[in-house]
């Protein structure tokens, strides 16, 4: 009896243990990956903040050893805005060199950017307020405020109390002395060609840079001479950085004809080719964004399973991919193929520029705001179309026609499509027969049934 009781008790206890272990729901807290980086940034901010507060409260500037007093404001001086330390980011992380930058103000229209920049070398902190003022022509093309490649404009340096120290004018990347226009070796953009910089994750910004703009302190009026360090481990003001040696556009297309068309657009003249400029300026010169072209001759719609010409994918906040169906595109002339490439570039540009905003949808945005840009860019690459502007515009409409339909989340409202055509008619471009006009340059003349006298033939043909 006792033996039986013991067995039952044992089985019961076992069952209870099993059941109680089963019912628990384990919730795992994921470790915060950015914690380490965040802590490091916090430490740097604390150090810099203490340093800055001590200097500003003592009314001293520059090197504390020289104890230069900040006097009353002159015409060129500024009253520094309040520093929002939460905006601080680690500007560069070269080996042994660390610093933080804090954006103070930015005017997207003029590109006027004021920032508080510092560098820490061997626990010695130097810091300035720096104003970057690009020329309007330069700013128009270079929207990335950290991109100083071939910089044209002015950089003004103030001490941390806002006292004007010096300014350097730049033209196409060369520093120009204020009065005699001769290029000067100081203040030029230094390029760290061989240096390998570790990739770092910082709050707000991700930098991967092998070059940056550096203004040497020993050339800044008001700051005592400091030793020029050829290894650049201090003695400079890091204003910003961009990797202009690395293009972030990767062309993995294998079809030689299609690859050529992508390259053609990528290397187009930015001033005359708006879509090429978007491609180069938004994706090509930004260390933050990557655009990859891939070829997929079996490209089909994910739901409809229809064969597709192209596909755009945003794979993360910084990675974009265009897939092109070389086989299907080979039906078209080079001009019409190029329009498909432009179409996909614009999708990716919209993904990046408008993020989650999809009103109007991408195709409608192309119709309303980018037809002219697409047309002029196409004529820039294919001058044969310049005398047939109506054909170029018709070809652009042809490119968008398959994206017109009732599904308002991604298609162009046919009514809006017809309105756009009427608009051109009223401007004197007769598009009443836009479909037949487009045929003049749409098809690949290398094909047996290709009959587009204005189109440029493509030699890559698939059977």
């Amino acid at each position: 009896m006792i033996k039986q009781f013991k067995t039952i008790l044992f089985i019961g206890a076992l069952l209870l243990t099993f059941m109680s272990s089963c019912k628990k729901e384990i919730v795992m807290e994921a470790p915060n990956e950015s914690q380490t980086v965040s802590n490091e940034l916090k430490t740097l901010v604390t150090k810099v903040r203490a340093w800055r507060d001590s200097l500003v409260s003592n009314k001293t500037i520059g090197s504390s050893e020289n104890n230069i007093k900040s006097l009353s404001l002159s015409q060129n001086d500024i009253v520094p805005p309040v520093i929002d330390w939460d905006k601080a980011f680690k500007n560069f992380d070269t080996i042994g060199k660390k610093g933080i930058s804090v954006p103070l103000s930015y005017d997207p229209i003029s590109g006027n950017y004021l920032q508080f920049v510092t560098s820490l070398v061997k626990n010695k902190i130097t810091g300035f307020i720096v104003r970057t003022l690009p020329d309007s022509a330069y700013h128009k093309i270079h929207r990335n405020r950290y991109d100083f490649s071939n910089f044209s404009g002015t950089i003004i340096v103030y001490d941390i109390t806002g006292k004007y120290l010096n300014q350097v004018n730049f033209k196409k990347g060369d520093a120009i002395k204020a009065n005699n226009n001769s290029t000067n070796k100081w203040g030029q953009i230094k390029i760290f060609e061989e240096e390998v910089l570790p990739e770092v994750v910082v709050i707000g910004h991700r930098k991967r840079s092998t070059s940056y703009l550096l203004i040497f302190l020993n050339n800044i009026k008001g700051v005592p001479n400091q030793e020029f360090d050829p290894n650049f481990d201090g003695g400079g003001v890091p204003v910003g950085g961009i990797d202009d040696g690395l293009l972030e556009i990767i062309n993995e297309i294998t079809d030689p004809c299609l690859k050529y068309l992508v390259n053609n657009l990528q290397n187009s003249d930015k001033l005359n080719n708006a879509i090429g400029a978007i491609m180069q300026s938004v994706f090509g010169k930004s260390a933050k964004l990557n655009l990859t072209f891939k070829q997929d001759n079996n490209l089909i719609g994910k739901k409809t399973l229809r064969a597709a010409y192209g596909e755009s994918q945003q794979l993360s906040d910084i990675n974009f991919e265009i897939r092109l169906n070389a086989k299907k595109l080979s039906e078209f002339s080079q001009e019409r193929q190029t329009l498909t490439i432009m179409h996909e570039i614009l999708h990716n540009y919209f993904f990046n520029a408008y993020g989650i905003i999809n009103e109007p949808n991408g195709h409608t945005r192309m119709l309303n705001d980018y037809i002219e840009e697409m047309a002029s860019s196409l004529e820039n690459l294919f001058p044969n179309l310049k005398d047939h502007h109506d054909v170029t515009i018709a070809l652009c409409f042809d490119n968008l026609w398959s994206s017109a339909g009732p599904e308002k989340e991604f298609e162009i409202d046919p009514f809006e499509f017809n309105n756009a055509i009427s608009k051109y008619n009223s401007l004197g471009v007769n598009l009443n027969n836009w479909k037949s006009l487009a045929m003049d340059a749409k098809w690949n003349n290398s094909l047996k049934d290709g009959d587009s006298p204005l189109g440029t033939a493509s030699d890559c043909i698939y059977k």
């Binding site: 039986q4 795992m28 719609g301 994910k302 597709a308 755009s312 945003q314 993360s316 989650i356």
Partner: protein
Amino acid sequence: MIEYIFKLIITFTLIVISCNSFAQKIKKEKREIQEIKLIFKDFTNNNNILQINKELDGTLILPTHFKNYKNYFKEFDKNGGALLNFTPSKIHKLIKSDCVYLNYVTLNDSNLLFIEKSWFPNNKVKTLTDSARKLYKHYSQDFMKPIFFRNYKRCFIAFYYSDNLYSYFLKKKNKHWVYDRVYKIVAVD
């Protein structure tokens, strides 16, 4: 007699355990619905990340239910589920355990979650059946069930229409859901 008492104890324990588990399941579902309601509240007023169609008076137009991932793989991403194969990534802030969980849920989810009018203030929502949405092509996007992970601190949401897919991560900040980052967006031409 002892045997009888023991059987009684065992039976009682089992009832308690099963009640507990059942209550926990209900609690979890209740929590998910609370969070989904909060997502609708946080994203349909100012930041319409879900691209939900609205009538002029602000009434939301939604499908009758969130689709499950079995539907998704059947209708979309037919190419072996390549689009929703989660792998650890710094860019997406996904660690291994996140991916294991997300992949498990997406591969095994077969339950539809019906959208109820009571989730919305003043019941300002109109739900359309699949056949009605086919008729009015304006309302064609299919929403997939949000997946909450990291103890309801992050959420994966996705929706698709025709050949297009939009998917994002949301995160909880100050007891509200905010946009975190893109997972994948696909547009096919």
